[in-house]
């Protein structure tokens, strides 16, 4: 019985819990924390059970409010009229990331936010953000996608500006809000164009009807721009350093997953919505160029930063470039079956695997930065030093995260970057060379951070990091090392279905419209 309703429950339970949180806060703070962590833990279990379902039985369709969950076309209708959730390999891949990251974020927040006020609102927004991301990933309806995009935007802006005692965070929240709203308006306008032309909002129906007229080109441009803006790709990246640096550390980790949910939207539009109709060569190159620009500009900007979280935020932009590069190569050769099978699909697997790896090691790095700020109260690298004496665990976790982001074996960053290098080399050797160069610059930058923050004599007062923070960082480290040691299992079981789901857009359409 519960199996039938999994996608709706995964969105509904965090949303219900979000609004129950303020009421429970009135009873007891500790009870509220346990409640939030319990809800997110239960959601993770539901996501895993849905994942098994999707990997075994293919695409999972859920029709909201219908007489039965699988009834996409009620008697006589040629197109679906209700809101449909459609979960394929790519959606569930993203949902796994979202649920892990939001659960660990809530655990980390227990100690990290202990002294702050207004925690009822903090946890409410956190749960809404998680529910919104699940919605973006599961929905099979363009307008519904926009609604969830806005839900995550509003929750994210509230969380970025959570510490109103610092003027910078209010500024960052305002900037983020303007950029998110602009991006969302682009998306809404594009959806309006598509709805006006084809009288449909369902992604599968739209994909089967789209003819690639001039208006569709405009819509595609708007969608790519709006979603790439929220994903934080250069040249629409200006909000990223502010937002990531000013949000509380666990929120920054969840914001990374939020940007990736928007990246998922971009891939869904390129592959599923337009993939059948257009020659994707040009579009693929546009994504690749966005990726290369993000990689290079992100890392060069990171090299000169002095604030620890701002530096990491620029690295987040740079790493987004790898995902765009990998998947962009797959998109460019989508219509060429031979090239797709020799290296295109591998490049996509690399890019998609990198999404998960990035969420894990970047999350870990932001959490270590949060621990440093928690323990010392300082954000500037010039004022930090000698932290490894007192914060042994954080130092070890930082080394793991830094090695993973720089692509050193045996950590997970190495696994996905190697796949990207090898497959992209066959497409265009230059791109691979740039990607490797960026990796070296990343390593250089993190060596600098490690040296100036953790090594040297003890020069400042340091508090010890609390247990809940260590636990969250430990979980991420274990995942990073496990993925680094056994990348083949992860790629075969989780990543390959996701890449195949993107390539086979016919299946996505057939799941709704029947054997078209």
């Amino acid at each position: 019985m519960i199996n039938e309703h999994l996608p709706a429950l995964i969105i509904g339970i965090p949303l219900l819990a979000a609004f129950a949180t303020p009421l429970i806060s009135k009873i007891n703070d500790k009870l509220r924390n346990i409640f939030v962590i319990g809800i997110l833990g239960a959601t993770l279990c539901l996501v895993i059970s849905l994942a098994f379902n999707v990997f075994n039985n293919g695409i999972f369709v859920y029709v909201m409010g219908a007489k039965s969950p699988g009834l996409t076309l009620p008697s006589g209708y040629k197109m679906p009229v209700r809101i449909i959730l459609e979960v394929d390999g790519m959606s569930i891949f993203m949902a796994i990331i979202t649920s892990i990251v939001s659960l660990l974020g809530a655990i980390y927040s227990w100690a990290f936010m202990h002294k702050e006020t207004g925690k009822d609102k903090y946890y409410t927004l956190l749960l809404i953000l998680a529910a919104g991301m699940f919605g973006m990933e599961f929905t099979g309806d363009m307008f519904n996608f926009f609604v969830f995009l806005e839900i995550t935007s509003i929750a994210a802006c509230g969380l970025v500006g959570f510490r109103i005692n610092r003027g910078e965070s209010s500024e960052a929240a305002f900037k983020t809000m303007v950029m998110y709203t602009l991006g969302a308006l682009f998306v809404l306008f594009a959806i309006g164009i598509l709805y006006g032309e084809y009288d449909a909002l369902n992604i599968a129906t739209l994909a089967s009807r789209i003819r690639y007229t001039m208006l569709d080109k405009i819509a595609l441009g708007l969608l790519v721009t709006g979603l790439a803006m929220k994903a934080g790709a250069v040249p629409m990246h200006m909000w990223v350093p502010d937002a990531y640096a000013e949000a509380p550390a666990p929120i920054t980790m969840i914001l990374v997953a939020n940007s990736q949910a928007s990246l998922y939207g971009l891939f869904r539009v390129c592959f599923t919505l337009y993939g059948l109709t257009i020659s994707t060569y040009t579009l693929g190159w546009i994504i690749i160029i966005l990726g290369v620009l993000s990689m290079f500009i992100g890392v060069t900007m990171a090299l000169i930063q002095k604030k620890i979280k701002r530096l990491m935020a620029y690295h987040a932009i740079s790493q987004t470039g790898y995902m765009l590069l990998g998947v962009g190569v797959g998109l460019a050769v989508l219509s060429d079956a031979n090239a797709l099978n020799t290296y295109g699909l591998k490049a996509m697997e690399g890019g998609i695997f990198h999404i998960m790896n990035h969420a894990m090691y970047k999350g870990l790095l932001f959490l270590t930065a949060g621990a440093v700020i928690y323990a010392t109260g300082k954000r500037n690298l010039n004022e930090l030093g000698g932290l490894a004496h007192k914060m042994k665990f954080t130092a070890i976790f930082f080394i793991i995260g830094a090695a993973a982001i720089a692509g050193l074996p045996p950590f997970n960053g190495f696994a996905s970057k190697l796949i990207i290098y090898e497959s992209v080399y066959k497409f265009n050797p230059m791109l691979s060379v740039i990607a490797m160069l960026v990796s070296i610059l990343t390593l250089a930058s993190f060596v600098k951070v490690f040296q100036s923050a953790f090594l040297g004599p003890e020069i400042i007062e340091v508090k010890k990091e609390p247990k809940s923070m260590i636990f969250a960082m430990l979980c991420l480290s274990v995942i990073i090392i496990a993925f680094g040691l056994f990348p083949d299992i992860v790629v075969d079981k989780i990543v390959a279905p996701a890449a195949n789901a993107l390539v086979n857009s016919m299946q996505y359409i057939a799941a709704i419209l029947g054997g078209a």
Binding site: H5, L16, F19, L23, Y62
Partner: protein, 153 residues
């Protein structure tokens, strides 16, 4: 606090604004409008009282923490009703055409409108209305608080 004229007019208008707002919520499934619009009308009534009597007086009449409890209850009600349908599907309209509460079959053609139709839609309108009036009400209160701070400086 504004002049006696404004306060007297507010006393007269306030109840009709509230009734109009609740009417829009109640008839959401029959006429234009619904939970959001009706809730916004009610909140505009709160704004009127705020302007006429000033923040300090109104603050003793309604507390922001009570409003946020109402807001939570509204949102919980909406999603809770969606969950009640999960025997069939999430958001399933289990009351429509069932003969019980709001369960009359919908009349087709020109008619004065039967309030007792549409199943869970009126209930959801009430939940949304509650959420919006509490949410917008606390937004207006917060804005008045900000203005008062500004006046003092």
């Amino acid at each position: 606090m504004m002049s006696k004229i404004v306060r007297t007019i507010t006393n007269i208008l306030y109840s009709s604004i509230l009734i109009f707002g609740f009417y829009i919520i109640m008839h959401g499934h029959l006429t234009p409008g619904g939970g959001f619009q009706g809730g916004a009308v009610v909140a505009s009534g709160i704004a009127l009282v705020l302007i006429a009597y000033g923040y300090d007086t109104v603050k003793s009449w309604m507390k922001k923490s009570n409003l946020s409890v109402l807001e939570s209850i509204g949102a919980l009600g909406f999603i809770g009703i969606a969950f009640l349908g999960i025997g069939t599907t999430f958001f399933y309209n289990f009351l429509a055409n069932s003969g019980g509460l709001f369960g009359d079959p919908t009349v087709i053609g020109i008619n004065p409108g039967n309030l007792d139709t549409s199943g869970v839609l009126p209930l959801m309108n009430w939940a949304v209305g509650l959420k919006v009036l509490a949410g917008l009400g606390s937004v207006v209160l917060l804005m008045a608080y900000g203005i008062r701070k500004g006046d003092e400086e």
